[in-house]
Symmetry: C2
Subunit: 408 residues, 2 copies
């Protein structure tokens, strides 16, 4: 019998244990191997847990037990999680993880280590929660030349944006509701500033294009500057504002990963994804476009991805899958977003239509209910962002909103 | 080097060869094995093809070459395709196929044969074209107890329905346009009567619930009776009519697979899937719901799924994945759709509101532009279909339309 060790008994860890025992028969049948959870590592005590006899506070219990073939790292962070993952892989134990920070910051190193020790480092749960995206992107679309990915990768911000759009709530009220419902942390920075989505697009970019993309290299804007007025203009334009993490290959052979709010037209499936749901659209030369949709977070949805990886690791026993990317010594393969050609929604106060025409030429004006006389909103023609910025500066007046259109 | 043989050089076969050579370097890297196409089997001659030296009319060339490890069966039908697939599997050659008829009618037998000969029978391309659904359903969602699946599984009918909804075309005009654009065959029966969707829901049902579901056991209704008026009422109700293939576990532990047009509310992602695109929603106890979306047919999209399976078969070299289901001696595990509880949209002529109330109790009336005085349309309360039918019979008058609501 192969033992599984679960590192961390928080939300995802306890969900993983719960789901494993709930569907144990099916899981064993699918993995073709007798499996059981041997250890649960946590610094806390759980004397009343039905799994009390499995708890340990000592990672060495796990490292030194040769029957432990698979380790689920669900602690989070890059401190102990990183150290323990390294040690497990060095012992030839496959590690599956939901830890997006770990994968985004240390993925290349850990994948290399897994390969060297004939085991696997799997991370389906790190991106898109319940949504199968890592394995489909790598395996099912293996025949494609991937040209781009764009996704709603953070459930908290999508919930906030949905409330702003559908119920005309302000950003502050929607955030406060998300916090009350447990969708947002007390300190919501990682979500609302786009850092969470940034880690996920780093993972997807690395996997699709074969080179590690580090979070520091990605231009990232959050949703804190969005207003209800912007949401109304988006609707009148024929779409919705979404926080989009994306990457695409540019004409000079570089790639451009980015996180920012964007106007997404109703013709794009992503515009219809509401509440805490996530969706990832993948573009390839053969498939054209495919989308994956589901719950991007939560106890059992994330546990579903962890258990799926456990089954895969069990099936692969002792062989390393070729899911790897190279480390990148520098960011020279990352394009400058200022060189990207974009159309931009702009909301200004105290600027005349003449000024706008002379700066941008012909633009598409938008309107909203209750629009003040001194407010104008328009969609700029497509141009390099660098040029757009210069033209916008030349307008004078007050820029109240500026949101790129999603272009793929 | 391992050789690949392609059986059939039609649309999908030529797409597979084209895609393989276009992305050969990437494909070989991902499969971790040197691969090349060794044979293309077709009864026709292609003297001017750049692959002319690979063509053969004799299956024995392929069967007797031990270097052929992987065979892509893209001929279609269950005659030669079935015989050749059996022979290849018996020789220990993995077979990947886009042939939904073959999988729906012979899947259990061929999966068993593959297992017995330590090779693989893979069929990602048989359902949903480019959309990764077979492997995600089986692998990524392995930790889930799957409770149901519902999908838009046929692009031709979805194109026709989209034209009826968005452009107010009649069924006949939309079908004729689909034929002109090459989306529908001259004889469109398999598509518009739901037989194609039926084969696909058989495959998904078999995979999700572990027992072979044969097409003859599935209640199947097509879209030929739908009218523009029905589409208008659906819109006023807040949704769209879609041809849905679905399966769910029923309370008595049976499963209910079915194909029929349905009212799908705008809250369901499937309602937003337009034109020739397909989408499959999967419900599980851990994931709640996940959806897969993309092109359900076409040369390169289908080739993408074939090549993905080729890569997987190459990686699995000599081991059989546990993607199996059992054969079913009879249909006793299939529930009777007449026992399913449904709400139904009804359009009648010459029936009074009083009659409707006395038969159905309180109903939700719908309206449309240009609605004649003697026409009523309503949504029935939820009840067993058997009971619904009896009540509908008691109405008298003329039933002009009757479409179930999608209930999941």
């Amino acid at each position: 019998m192969s033992k599984i060790a679960v590192l961390g008994y928080g939300v995802v860890g306890s969900g993983t244990v719960e789901l494993f025992y709930k569907n144990k028969d099916k899981i064993i049948k699918k993995s073709g191997r007798d499996l059981d959870i041997g250890y649960i590592l946590d610094i806390r005590d759980f004397p009343d847990s039905p799994y009390a006899d499995k708890f340990t506070k000592n990672i060495n219990d796990i490292l030194e037990d040769d029957d432990v073939k698979i380790v689920a790292e669900v602690m989070g962070g890059v401190g102990d999680a990183y150290e323990y993952t390294k040690k497990c892989l060095e012992k030839g134990k496959s590690v599956v993880t939901s830890n997006k920070e770990l994968v985004a910051k240390k993925g290349a190193e850990l994948l290399k280590l897994a390969k060297a020790h004939d085991c696997n480092f799997l991370f389906e749960a790190s991106t898109g929660g319940a949504i199968p995206i890592i394995r489909p992107l790598h395996q099912c679309l293996a025949g494609n030349d991937i040209t781009g990915i764009e996704g709603i990768l953070n459930g908290t911000t999508n919930f906030i944006l949905t409330k702003m759009i559908n119920e005309q709530m302000s950003f502050e009220d929607a955030l406060s509701m998300a916090q009350k419902l447990g969708y947002a942390e007390k300190d919501p920075t990682a979500d609302v500033e786009g850092h969470d989505a940034c880690r996920k697009i780093c993972i997807l970019s690395s996997l699709a294009f074969g080179k590690h993309v580090y979070p520091d290299w990605v231009h990232c804007e959050g949703i804190t500057k969005l207003t209800l007025e912007d949401a109304c203009y988006a609707e009148s334009w024929g779409g919705a504002i979404k926080l989009i993490g994306s990457v695409k290959r540019t004409e000079d052979g570089k790639i451009l990963p980015m996180v920012r709010p964007a106007f997404v037209c109703y013709g794009n499936q992503l515009s219809h994804i509401s509440d805490v749901f996530n969706g990832v659209m993948v573009y390839g030369d053969a498939v054209e476009e495919v989308m994956f949709y589901g719950r991007g977070a939560g106890k059992l949805p994330t546990a579903s991805a962890i258990v799926g990886d456990i089954v895969d690791a069990a099936k692969m026993n002792g062989t390393s899958v070729s899911q790897v990317w190279e480390d990148s010594p520098d960011s020279s393969f990352i394009a400058d977003y200022k060189d990207d050609v974009v159309s931009v929604y702009v909301r200004v106060r105290g600027v005349t239509g003449e000024k706008i025409s002379s700066a941008f030429g012909t633009v598409e004006y938008l309107s909203r209910e209750g629009q003040p006389d001194d407010e104008l909103a328009f969609i700029s023609p497509a141009m390099k962002e660098r040029d757009f910025d210069a033209k916008l500066d030349s307008l004078g007046g007050q820029v109240l909103g500026k949101i790129r259109l999603l272009d793929m």
